[in-house]
């Protein structure tokens, strides 16, 4: 939390200036009652019009200066708050951009999004308030205290009394509400979650006729939220009438004691009136401070959540010394050998290894296939290559260089990755393909689309490559999404291809066409393919069979059919004996 203060450091001078302006503004505000008292005492009471005019003009000048200062405070406070949150937002975004999957798993994507958006917005709002109003409170409070003391020292005990009451009420409030505010936020999140689940699961909910169950689930949280809201709000609104009552009560007290002193000739009426005004200011400043108590719990939570993100270091770091010799993918020296050397891996926080002591080499110009049952760790293995996670034991080498000794950018430049679940960005088909390589020519786009078997449906669309893609690619079918995601990797023209079960939404015919084209057009590249389909990999140069994270077979189809029981079972579950020949 304290760490966030560094965002205000560059503005130390400006903040000091703002505080100075604030000080002047408060001084002006403090001077005004004094003038008013004088105007009433000496001007109106004695019928001295020219005195009223002179003092009136002086007063207006002071009020004007005070107003100007207030405008200045507003100007600088808004700018400082907006600018520091701009930097904060930027840093959080950059930080998260740098996060590896492990950190995304840890925070959850939804939470990272709220932290980068709502939480920062919250901080910005609070910092304006702080600069503008809350900093004013102590200055005003102390100033008014001095002035009040000056106008009538013997009545100061009334102020003291008022403050004790105000403070004890505020502290009580704080204790009652602060924990409940946190709970309130949790309930709102929960309501959101339920609603979102109901939206994503609409078909399932209707299919199982669980609407009333869902409505009850929602209603329960809705009820909890409503009653908590009711309580918190009712407590909060108690504050205002209470404070009013105290202020007014104190002014009665002052008039009463003031009258006694006036009676003894120890006080003038004007001074008494000024004293009332100053007392009001003091109480007012405490009310301002009480706003901090209201806003702080929320802001503190936000600040903490932001600081958490900023303090988290990505598990995956660039090496101090970049050992990779191929700084760009065009270098001819790069061959594309991918070697796993005794690799073991477990997910952060997980006790058991999901990959045990895995060794194999994927060679350029060849296809290396990974097959195995659900949850055997296939996706995990390929996710290690672009360093979405780092191995926990052993090493992965590309052309003999440990990938942890390469810069992540250089490493990922030479890899074309197609995920299990296709992700497209909003924009057009073209902009999505260009994501593979900004500088790709139109011909390259068409070539890639042809290999990916996407050209047919693209040319069928009225707008062709300019067809709009909505966020997440919801407006193209699953198979089309997958083909575009493959084409995107092809546009990149990398040395190493990784396909994580990327053909699952394609029918067999398209699958076969695609693989043939790939083989023909991307001859020299290293292809690593995860799949469930035997037919997809029957001709692979090397097949790795995984079972529970262990390699139980390695070799060609024909070899594995003979000596790998797991592989044979998988194959037989898909094809008949004679078809396998």
């Amino acid at each position: 939390m304290i760490k966030l203060l560094k965002y205000y450091k560059p503005y130390t001078a400006l903040i000091l200036l703002t505080l100075l302006l604030l000080f002047l503004q408060v001084m002006a505000d403090l001077a005004l009652p004094n003038y008013m008292a004088k105007i009433i005492n000496n001007g109106i009471a004695l019928g001295n019009i020219s005195y009223i005019l002179i003092k009136g003009i002086q007063m207006l000048i002071i009020a004007f200066i005070g107003g100007l200062c207030a405008v200045g405070v507003g100007f600088f406070a808004s700018r400082i708050a907006a600018k520091s949150s701009m930097h904060m937002r930027e840093d959080v975004f950059k930080k998260v951009s740098d996060f590896s999957n492990a950190e995304f798993d840890k925070f959850s994507t939804a939470s990272l999004i709220t932290r980068s958006t709502n939480d920062i917005q919250q901080i910005q709002m609070v910092s304006v308030m702080l600069l503008r109003m809350v900093c004013m409170a102590p200055i005003m409070g102390i100033g008014a205290l001095i002035m009040a003391y000056k106008s009538s020292p013997s009545m100061s005990w009334t102020i003291f009394l008022a403050l004790v009451i105000v403070l004890s009420i505020m502290i009580t409030f704080f204790f009652i509400t602060s924990s409940r505010f946190k709970k309130l936020q949790k309930l709102v999140d929960k309501l959101n979650l339920i609603m979102n689940e109901r939206l994503t699961g609409m078909l399932v909910i209707r299919a199982f006729n669980t609407q009333s169950y869902e409505e009850k689930r929602f209603d329960k949280t809705n009820k909890e939220l409503t009653s908590l809201n009711l309580f918190v709000n009712r407590v909060m609104t108690f504050m205002m009438p209470m404070m009013m009552l105290i202020m007014n009560g104190v002014s009665i007290l002052i008039v009463w004691t003031g009258a006694k002193m006036i009676n003894m000739g120890a006080l003038e009426v004007g001074d008494m009136l000024a004293f009332i005004q100053y007392t009001m200011m003091i109480i007012m400043s405490f009310m301002l401070i009480s706003m901090v108590f209201i806003m702080m719990p929320k802001a503190l939570v936000s600040g903490q959540r932001i600081a958490e993100v900023l303090q988290t270091q990505s598990n995956i770091k660039d090496p101090a010394e970049n050992k990779t010799k191929y700084l760009n993918k065009g270098e001819s020296e790069l061959k594309g050998y991918v070697e796993f050397k005794n690799v073991s891996f477990h997910y952060p926080d997980a006790a058991e290894d999901v990959i045990h002591d895995l060794s194999f080499t994927a060679k350029p110009g060849e296809t290396t296939a990974l097959i195995g049952s659900t949850g055997s760790g296939k996706s995990t293995v390929v996710n290690l290559i672009p360093r979405f996670y780092d191995v926990t034991q052993g090493e992965i080498l590309i052309d003999g260089v440990d990938i942890r000794d390469m810069k992540q950018n250089n490493l990922r430049d030479i890899i074309g990755y197609v995920p299990q679940k296709a992700v497209l960005f909003s924009g057009t088909i073209e902009s999505n393909l260009l994501y593979g390589d900004k500088n790709a020519s139109e011909k390259e786009l068409i070539d890639a689309s042809e290999i990916a078997q996407a050209m047919e449906f693209i040319s069928e669309k009225p707008q062709g490559f300019d067809t709009e893609i909505s966020q997440g690619g919801t407006n193209v079918s699953g198979g089309q999404k997958q083909r575009l995601s493959i084409a995107r990797a092809l546009v990149k023209n990398p040395k190493i291809f990784i396909f994580d079960d990327s053909f699952s939404a394609l029918d067999y015919e398209t699958d076969a066409l695609l693989r043939n084209q790939l083989k023909e057009k991307k001859k020299d590249s290293t292809k690593i393919i995860v799949t469930q389909r035997i037919s997809t990999i029957k001709n692979a140069e090397q097949i790795i069979v995984l079972d529970n994270g262990k390699m139980v077979g390695k070799g060609k189809h024909s070899e594995l059919m003979k000596n790998c029981q797991v592989y044979k079972e998988i194959a037989l579950s898909q094809l008949d004996e004679e078809e396998l020949q």
Binding site: G47, N196, F425, Q480, K492, Y508
Partner: protein, 609 residues
């Protein structure tokens, strides 16, 4: 502003749409009327609230005058007798204290009641939306993003919650204050009142100017905020791709650009809206001096007393506030109306056809499971027909496979069978009963369904499986999990069945998710089973085991299976080959292979090199 992907289990409701000051509803009057109808049950209470508000305002208006008279009394009695009569002063101050007390009390009672009402209205609105959601046709959701709908349930309703009650009482109290203060000022001295009113054009002019400006920048800020939040959302959800393609730099560049624009509009909107206070204060001081001058002249002539001037000065201070506040409330009410409009639009949306007169039922005991499709035609929208004149007969107990290329309409067929969408033409009959004569609930109770897009919610594995049959015992859940061959995996987890699926369901693999949803469908134990690409991410060995379990389970029951992997469906009784919404071939695996047509071609493509 905050588009959402419809991915399964995606939790992407990050940023929301806050109330946008200056945002205008399409039809203010109509919306307000509809919103006020939610307040109708509380009519009587509202009347009380307004009475209390007015009373509290009147008290707070009268009290400065009494305080002034107390001062006067001190001054006068000093002048007259050189002594203050404390018993008289005590009397005045007691009355004053009582007024203060009542004023605060009324204010509190008023807010207490108002909060009760606005919370209840909020609750009712949320509940209405929640129930509405289940009655809307799926069609409605096709055209809306999840973000849009979520934002209505949370942000818009929150806006209504915080602003409605407050605005209503504020209007009443401020108008009341304005009038009351005016009356009080007049009662003290009309000349001074006139002077004070001279300030009015100045202050209202300033208010208008500031409001206009700040609204413009607020709207801008909201726009850029939406833009930047959208970018953040998209980049975070697609971070693997961003990483894999080294897109960080571009993404950051774009971010910085918008961030800068956001900064510019953010500080300006803050600055302008903050101008109000100092401006009003200065105007107040100006009025103060004017009144002092005039008051001094009048006092010299003896037509007003010091106490009266003092009271008058207090009123002047109170005079400018309500004007600024009313300008503000009008603004707030507009954005409330805009939010309410969106919420009410949802609540008033046309529902699925009523089913009150649909009593057709199939007796569970005599249930056979014959299904006939007669001349079906269907399209998601009028101009694109997906299913065209589809005819088919399925016999009780058959295992029916549906195959065909992506986009052929396989899933669509399932969706109309379960009446998620209504047919354009034709009919479907189950055991001779037309499904559109049955209520949707009755119809769907016949089916157990597993979709390709797995849906799990943030709860334990146990809860997620039990979702298929909420009354099922733990034992039954274990049995279903065993049949779906996921029991072993669950038992290897440290928490077993109590493992909580996280919000994004990222802690288990895609295939494991599918197995869980299959277990759920098995548990539901329905008469007809539909598996739509339900095992696409499950390995084939496990799949065969599941199929065997299913075969036992579904013995004699009708089932539909959709799959790309043809090995999955080879032993089906009937295979329907669909292309462009039409059946192109029909028969068993052997028959179709012999025919050497579309299916054989599809099948053989598995072995092509």
């Amino acid at each position: 502003m905050n588009k959402q992907t419809k991915g399964n289990n995606s939790m992407r409701f990050g940023p929301g749409r806050a109330a946008v000051p200056g945002e205008k509803p399409k039809n203010f009057k109509k919306t307000m009327k509809a919103l006020l109808s939610y307040l109708k049950p509380y009519r009587l209470k509202l009347v009380f609230i307004f009475i209390f508000a007015i009373a509290s305002t009147i008290f707070s208006i009268v009290s400065p005058k009494i305080l002034g008279s107390a001062t006067d009394y001190i001054v006068d009695s000093l002048k007259l007798s050189g002594m203050v009569d404390f018993s008289r002063l005590f009397y005045i101050l007691t009355i004053l204290g009582a007024l203060y007390l009542l004023s605060s009390l009324f204010l509190y009672i008023q807010s207490f009641m108002m909060i009760g009402i606005s919370q209840k209205v909020t609750y009712a609105l949320r509940k209405d939306m929640s129930e509405k959601m289940d009655r809307l046709p799926l069609k409605y959701f096709d055209s809306k993003t999840h973000g849009e709908i979520l934002s209505r349930v949370t942000n818009d309703i929150e806006t209504i919650n915080t602003t409605l009650g407050q605005s209503l009482t504020q209007i009443v109290t401020n108008v009341c204050t304005l009038v009351g203060v005016l009356v009080m000022m007049l009662s003290i001295n009309w000349i001074m009142t006139l002077v004070a009113l001279l300030i009015l054009p100045l202050s209202s002019g300033l208010i208008m100017l500031i409001v206009k400006r700040s609204q413009k920048y607020f709207a801008n800020q909201q726009k850029f905020l939406g833009e930047i939040n959208g970018h953040i959302e998209e980049m975070y959800t697609g971070h693997i791709i961003v990483k894999a393609f080294n897109g960080e730099e571009d993404s950051i560049k774009k971010f910085e650009k918008v961030n800068n624009k956001l900064y510019n509009s953010a500080w300006k909107s803050q600055f302008f809206s903050g101008l109000m206070m100092p401006m009003m204060n200065f105007v107040g001081n100006l009025a103060f001096v004017f009144v002092c001058v005039v008051g001094g002249l009048l006092a010299a002539r003896g037509s007003v007393s010091i106490g009266q001037i003092q009271a008058f000065l207090q009123y002047i201070k109170q005079f400018n506030h309500p004007i600024a506040q009313i300008a503000n409330v009008v603004n707030v009410l507009q954005s409330t109306a805009a939010a309410a409009e969106r919420v009410l639009e949802f609540v008033k949306e046309e529902e699925e056809l009523s089913e009150e007169n649909k009593h057709a039922k199939i007796d569970q005991n005599k249930f056979k499971g014959d299904i006939t499709f007669n001349n079906l035609s269907f399209g998601y929208n009028e101009d694109t027909i997906i299913i065209n004149d589809f005819n088919c007969e399925v016999k009780s107990g058959q295992k029916v496979a549906i195959v065909g290329p992506t986009g052929a309409g396989k899933t669509t067929l399932v969706k109309i069978l379960m009446r998620f969408y209504e047919l354009n033409k034709g009919s479907i009959e189950i055991d001779g009963v037309n499904i559109s004569d049955m209520s949707r609930d009755n119809l769907r109770a016949l089916f157990g369904m597993v979709l390709q897009d797995t849906w799990l919610f943030n709860g334990t594995i146990m809860e997620n499986i039990r979702y298929g049959n909420l009354e099922a015992s733990d034992e039954e859940v274990y049995k279903a999990a065993k049949a779906a061959h996921i029991d072993h995996f669950i038992n290897t987890l440290p928490q077993g069945y109590e493992t909580v699926i996280n919000e994004e369901a990222s802690n288990i693999s895609q295939g494991e998710k599918q197995l869980l949803t299959i277990a759920r469908a098995i548990l539901s134990n329905r008469s007809i089973m539909i598996l739509d690409e339900a095992t696409s991410s499950v390995d084939t060995r496990t799949e065969i085991l599941i199929q065997m379990a299913m075969n036992n389970l579904m013995h004699g029951r009708t089932s539909f299976i959709i799959a790309h992997r043809l090995s999955t469906i080879k032993d089906a009784d009937v295979i329907l080959v669909i292309n462009n919404g039409d059946i192109v071939e029909k028969g068993s695996h052997e028959e179709l292979m012999k025919r050497n047509g579309f299916y054989a071609n599809l099948y053989n493509s598995q072995f092509k090199q």
